[in-house]
């Protein structure tokens, strides 16, 4: 007799369908010479679209309660994050078409790995048990390691993959060890029961539980690339193929945030006072170090890597608040952030030649004359990353700061606003090159890769739209917060 109703599997239709898609692409891609990049990308997008449709259907069917022996939960919170992942994945696929084509890489494997990673993310957002969360996380991580090394013949890409793998494995070790200690001290892996178990355990001064949750949280900080657990980030982000970097910086980071929030708010809810101190320290360090280190970079991709560390710090402000507003602010921010970060990496990608050339600041010189539309879009992305209106980045940051102030963490918010002012310097460094410097070569850039440019246009449009009328996204994020039965508010 099963401990659950088998019909509940139907609710996992989006995840199951996406897995099937990934496998089909893999098989089709390995028959003969396989499909070319465009066709495979198109098929993947169709897969994503159908998955999104199924997601809406499953969300409508679900009652928001845990399913399958409480391994997964289909609540509004999970739904919101899944939308973010699917959007970020679709944009990543659109960014990838050209690079696979020009590098003559096998398309099937690449897209199927992306879809598998996304499947892992979908499961992560729904995970309601430390074990199911860990397994989904590994599915995402293992696919990402391969993706990071996708330039097989490039040393830097290999280096990135190895570094990512070793440190990723280390962080998984932390996670797993933390999970086992928590299991040892509370006797459960279910997030709901874990909260109750932790109250008892900490009341009895159980050291195992304390070490357990700290290890667990450290493992998660690795995944979101927060200081001081960020050391892998710059090298991996620079070495990985740019679309993959964009994917890691958006979808992968968002997924890690989803489980971080789920675990902190649900499983570790009773320890809120303790973990807030840890999160505050990590948030402050990430904002300071991420921004300061970005100041000295000469490579735009590396600068964006450090900036993504800083942005992890900003989102942590919302997590730190442990309030409704903090939560929806973090969700709003990750949504908006995905668009302008993917956009920024997209521009980097467009200017790249022969894998890595064209990534330094000076390669952007005179872009405003050579390709005004690209420069204008990059300007929008840079303003959004700095947090200047009218962009989604501005509202995102204001919401996060507001949440931190409301929750009484004013000093962290002060670090946040001051470091965003610092970040202006290096983001505007790109703008200075594009608009204030002249290139040796002033001929207009030929318009290549129309799909890519259109994708960037979409990213820029959404970034500005969220900067003018953020209301409906805020409402969506808010409704995704309220329905969850957190132990906090």
């Amino acid at each position: 007799m099963l401990p659950f109703d088998p019909q509940e599997f139907l609710l996992l239709a989006p995840e199951i369908f996406l897995t099937v898609c990934a496998l089909v692409l893999l098989v089709v891609g390995s028959i003969g010479r396989g499909l070319d990049s465009r066709k495979t990308a198109f098929l993947s997008l169709v897969g994503i679209a159908v998955t999104t449709g199924l997601l809406f259907w499953a969300h409508g069917q679900s009652n928001g309660l845990p399913i399958l022996a409480k391994m997964f939960i289909l609540d509004n919170f999970a739904f919101f994050w899944k939308l973010v992942f699917l959007i970020a994945t679709a944009l990543t696929i659109l960014l990838s078409v050209r690079f696979i084509e020009e590098g003559r890489y096998r398309a099937g494997e690449y897209y199927s790995l992306i879809l598998l990673a996304t499947t892992g993310m979908l499961f992560m957002a729904s995970g309601f048990n430390l074990l199911s969360i860990w397994i989904s996380l590994e599915l995402m991580a293992l696919s990402s390691y391969v993706l990071a090394g996708y330039f097989k013949r490039e040393t830097r890409s290999n280096e990135a993959a190895i570094k990512y793998f070793v440190l990723g494995a280390l962080s998984s070790g932390f996670l797993l060890y933390g999970i086992s200690l928590l299991y040892g001290s509370t006797g459960t892996l279910n997030l709901e029961q874990l909260a109750g178990g932790l109250i008892n355990a900490t009341l009895n001064g159980n050291l195992l539980a304390t070490v357990g949750w700290i290890l667990l949280v450290i493992g998660l900080f690795f995944k979101i690339a927060a200081v001081p657990f960020h050391v892998w980030t710059p090298d991996v982000y620079v070495g990985a193929p740019t679309p993959v970097t964009a994917y890691l910086a958006t979808a992968s980071k968002a997924a890690s945030f989803a489980i971080l929030i789920r675990i902190l708010y649900q499983g570790l809810g009773p320890l809120v006072v303790e973990w807030q101190v840890v999160v505050a320290a990590v948030a402050g360090l990430s904002m300071i170090w991420g921004n300061v280190a970005a100041l000295t970079q000469t490579n735009v991709k590396r600068m964006l890597a450090y900036s993504s560390i800083a942005h992890a710090g900003y989102v942590l402000l919302g997590v730190l608040a442990a309030s409704e507003m903090g939560l929806w602010a973090a969700m709003f921010y990750m949504f908006a952030y995905s668009f302008f970060t993917l956009g920024a990496f997209g521009i980097v990608l467009l200017l790249e030649r022969k894998e890595y050339a064209g990534e330094t600041y000076s390669d952007y010189a005179g872009l405003a004359r050579r390709a005004p539309h690209l420069a204008a879009m990059m300007l929008v992305f840079m303003l959004a990353l700095t947090g200047i209106p009218p962009t989604g980045g501005f509202f995102g940051k204001v919401y996060l700061f507001a949440a931190a102030v409301e929750a009484g963490w004013t000093w962290v918010a002060v670090i946040g606003v001051l470091t965003s002012a610092v970040s202006l310097y290096y983001y505007m460094g790109v703008v200075v090159q594009m608009y204030f410097k002249d290139a040796d070569d002033t001929t207009p850039m030929p318009l290549r890769a129309p799909v890519l440019v259109a994708t960037l246009g979409l990213c820029a449009f959404v970034t500005v739209l969220l900067g003018l009328l953020p209301g409906s996204l805020v409402e969506l994020a808010r409704s995704s917060v309220i329905s969850v039965g957190w132990n906090l508010f």
Binding site: F394, Y399, V405, E406, G408, V417, L424, P470, V474, E475
Partner: protein
């Protein structure tokens, strides 16, 4: 005859006409076609000025404090709304903005010869940003415009500026951004105090809102320690913008490197944002903190007056001289504002307008001569009144206006400020007088070295006098200088109510509402003003 203005969203129209113009230029005009772009952009600015003038006539001097109200929902989850409305202070500054806008556009025709399309787009966007700042009645909306405005200015300095433009541009942007990001924390503190409370301060439990009059309303209920914190973060934001000593160091760089039109807008309008911020937010929302910190504020204003004047005197570059004179003049404005009485505030606000006109004109004039000779060094000139008589005459009038000669606008402003300062602390006025004397010294000395005597440099012999277009953008300023100088009454009339409001707020905090203004007890008067 202007009743119809009440029925249409006139403020939004004025605010967004430049934006629409900019969009039109971006999408429908080719970058090679500089001549038609500049004509079009100038026409848009002129149209904007023309539709803003009726505000002056339609504004009801005896009516509500804020008029031409527009209200729409915007971000409901925060309680931020799209609220527009202006009082007399904002009205004057809006007219100044649209007027200086046209003049700055006209002056750019010959000064800007590369990347014209981008230039006029940024100028138009800047107009929208500045107008929005003065019109917003929602603190959040205000903040959005406040920050948006930085971006086009950054580009104007960075692309079309002088040799050190990159340094000046990023310095301007960084300085002002640091100020404004701190301000958002102050705004959030007010917002949460008004609703759910923050840190140790229990909230007032009102509905979440960023509506500025709501913050005015609760001013008496904000505890002093919180008031002081908020005042300090606002102070950093506004003091950087004004700029007050010691936050002024970005200003000479930005002014000297910016193109002429950029300097005009910067001095004419952008600096007024800081003083406007003090009058609109710091004083009426945080009156107790204002009184508490008054000696510091006045002290910095006084240091600014004297320091700015002394440094201006030492300058060899005309544009730098005018830039430092701004520090001194804005010190005057702040002295008037922090006199916290009717005369001081009236004078301070009027002097904001005066400074916009006279310093704007001085930058235009320096721009005129720079275009001809490509130097701004005082030593390169001398005796040019004989070859450029019209130029010399207008320069003289503006100089007189700047140093506060009777019959011209500067006199009215400075005199009123001194009256206000004298009533607050008598020796403030004394220092103010010293500042005026120093101001006369550096301006007249510069005038003498540039215009009088024989032509020493043969290159100056062939200088052409003002062209028709140049007269077109200089004469309106001269006319306004005389108007304000001879008949300032309409200006004071329009300022009466908002100034009264601020003064009453201050008196309420200072004397517990027992002071008597116009024969009525303060509280009674406040109630009357507020409805």
């Amino acid at each position: 005859m202007f009743d119809w203005l009440q029925g249409i969203p006139i403020l939004s129209i004025i605010c967004y006409v430049p934006l629409l113009g900019a969009l039109f230029v971006i999408f429908f005009m080719r970058s090679g076609n500089g001549a038609s772009i500049r004509r079009f952009a100038t026409a848009v600015a002129a149209l904007d000025f023309v539709i803003s003038v009726p505000l002056w006539f339609a504004f009801d001097r005896d009516g509500d404090l804020f008029q031409f109200r527009e209200s729409a929902s915007w971000i409901e989850s925060l309680g931020a709304r799209y609220e527009f409305g202006i009082d007399g202070i904002a009205l004057l500054l809006i007219l100044l903005t649209t007027l200086l806008g046209v003049l700055a556009f006209l002056s750019s025709w010959s000064a800007i010869d590369n990347r014209e399309k981008e230039y006029y787009v940024f100028m138009l966007l800047l107009q929208t940003g500045m107008l929005g700042v003065f019109m917003a009645m929602d603190f959040f909306l205000f903040y959005v415009f406040w920050e948006v405005m930085l971006v086009p200015m950054y580009f104007l300095i960075g692309i079309w500026g002088g040799p050190r433009r990159l340094y000046a541009a990023i310095k301007f942007f960084l300085y002002t951004l640091v100020g404004s990001v701190l301000m958002i924390l102050g705004i959030l503190a007010l917002y949460f105090y008004n609703s759910t409370g923050l840190l140790g301060w229990g909230g007032l439990g009102n509905e979440r809102t960023f509506f500025i009059p709501q913050f005015h309303e609760i001013s008496a209920e904000i505890p002093l320690d919180l008031q002081i914190w908020i005042f300090l973060v606002f102070f950093v934001a506004f003091a950087i913008k004004v700029p007050m000593f010691p936050f002024h160091t970005w200003l000479p760089d930005a002014h000297v490197e910016a193109p002429t039109a950029g300097s005009v807008i910067l001095a004419g309008v952008l600096l007024k944002m800081g003083t406007y911020g003090f009058v609109r937010f710091s004083l009426p929302i945080l009156p107790e903190a204002t009184l508490q910190l008054l000696p510091w504020m006045a002290g910095l204003a006084i240091i600014g007056i004297i320091y700015g004047a002394l440094v201006a005197m030492a300058q060899k570059d005309m544009k730098k001289l005018v830039a430092y004179s701004s520090v001194s003049h804005l010190g005057f404005v702040m002295l008037g504002v922090f006199a916290l009485n009717t005369a001081g505030l009236n004078g301070g606000i009027l002097q904001m307008i005066n400074h916009g006109l006279s310093t704007g004109a001085l930058f235009l004039l320096v721009g005129v001569i720079y275009e001809r000779r490509h130097t701004r060094m005082i030593a390169d000139y001398g005796g040019i009144s004989s070859v450029m008589p019209k130029f010399a005459t207008i320069f003289m009038i503006i100089t007189m206006s700047s140093i506060g000669l009777p019959v011209l606008n500067g006199f009215i402003g400075e005199f009123t400020i001194l009256v206000g300062a004298f009533n607050r602390v008598w020796w403030w006025a004394l220092v103010g007088v010293i500042g005026i004397v120093l101001g006369a010294a550096y301006m007249l000395w510069m005038y003498q070295r540039v215009f009088f005597g024989n032509i020493t440099n043969p290159e100056n012999e062939g200088l052409a006098d003002l062209s028709g277009r140049e007269m077109l953008y200089l004469v309106p300023i001269v006319v306004l200088c005389f108007w304000i100088g001879l008949y300032p009454k309409p200006f004071f009339e329009i300022l009466e109510k908002p100034v009264d409001y601020v003064v009453t707020k201050i008196d309420l905090a200072e004397n517990g509402g027992l002071a008597v203004i116009d024969g009525r007890v303060v509280e009674e008067k406040l109630a009357e003003l507020e409805n």
